[in-house]
Symmetry: C2
Subunit: 126 residues, 2 copies
DNA sequence: CCGAATCCACAACGATACTG
DNA sequence: CAGTATCGTTGTGGATTCGG
């Protein structure tokens, strides 16, 4: 994505394409709501409204938007039950569950270093 | 993380405080630029301008903002050399390096599942 | 070279209302 | 209940400038 030079070689073109895809994907998932959805969903299957109830502060709109994005990227599977009233369930796919493991690491880190961070903040703010 | 109930117990108050801190922290670091900075910085020490050159597309403003935030949270250490011209170097702290390990996991994931994701996108878009 | 402040375009977001 | 669309507001982030 940084290379401005163009060699015409197909191999390099492929690399650039893969690189830009990786970056795009990274931008997609490196956001607060997407990561929270992955965490809350975990290995379970949850309805839209259940997700919304369990993710504090998320709006209807943000939830749908992120779920669409995650479905598009193959992180969640969307299952529509043609009942009245409608019922839509979401489940992490295999790639989604794999990603969850790394997000778990981030959460663990957060709790592990909570003390460090709080101290650092107090020092910085004062 | 979601509990709305209030019991008045000091222990629960502590938990709520820690919880809100964790959320705040999560919102801070769960963003594209912060994670990219952590990745690029790695174990090295880099100047402001070097960081800027190596992170494609980041603006001066975003870089400073995120570096401040990360310094405040104790993820990076900022070292000012009182020379002319000025020289400011940034290094990951120990908590920062610990976090990097989990971010590495995210990057690995990205590359590992690139094929899945591309296929899923093509299917979704078509 | 680095940082802070200003301005402002534009995207993100919440609220609302309507459909199946 | 879940999804889409629209609207109005907020706020993010880029460009620029000036100061240390």
């Amino acid at each position: 994505m940084v290379t401005k030079q163009f060699t015409g070689s197909p191999d390099e073109a492929d690399l650039r394409r893969a690189d830009s895809l990786a970056r795009e994907l990274f931008s997609d998932i490196a956001n607060k709501w997407a990561l929270l959805i992955i965490e809350v969903l975990g290995g379970r299957t949850l309805r839209f409204s259940e997700l919304r109830d369990q993710i504090d502060g998320i709006s209807h709109k943000m939830l749908t938007q992120n779920l669409r994005m995650m479905e598009r990227n193959g992180l969640v599977e969307r299952e529509v039950h043609p009942t009245v009233p409608p019922k839509v369930e979401y489940t992490l796919t295999e790639p989604g569950r794999a990603l969850k493991k790394t997000v778990d690491g981030m959460c663990d880190w957060t709790h592990q270093y909570l003390g460090h961070i709080e101290a650092s903040r107090n020092h910085f703010d004062g």
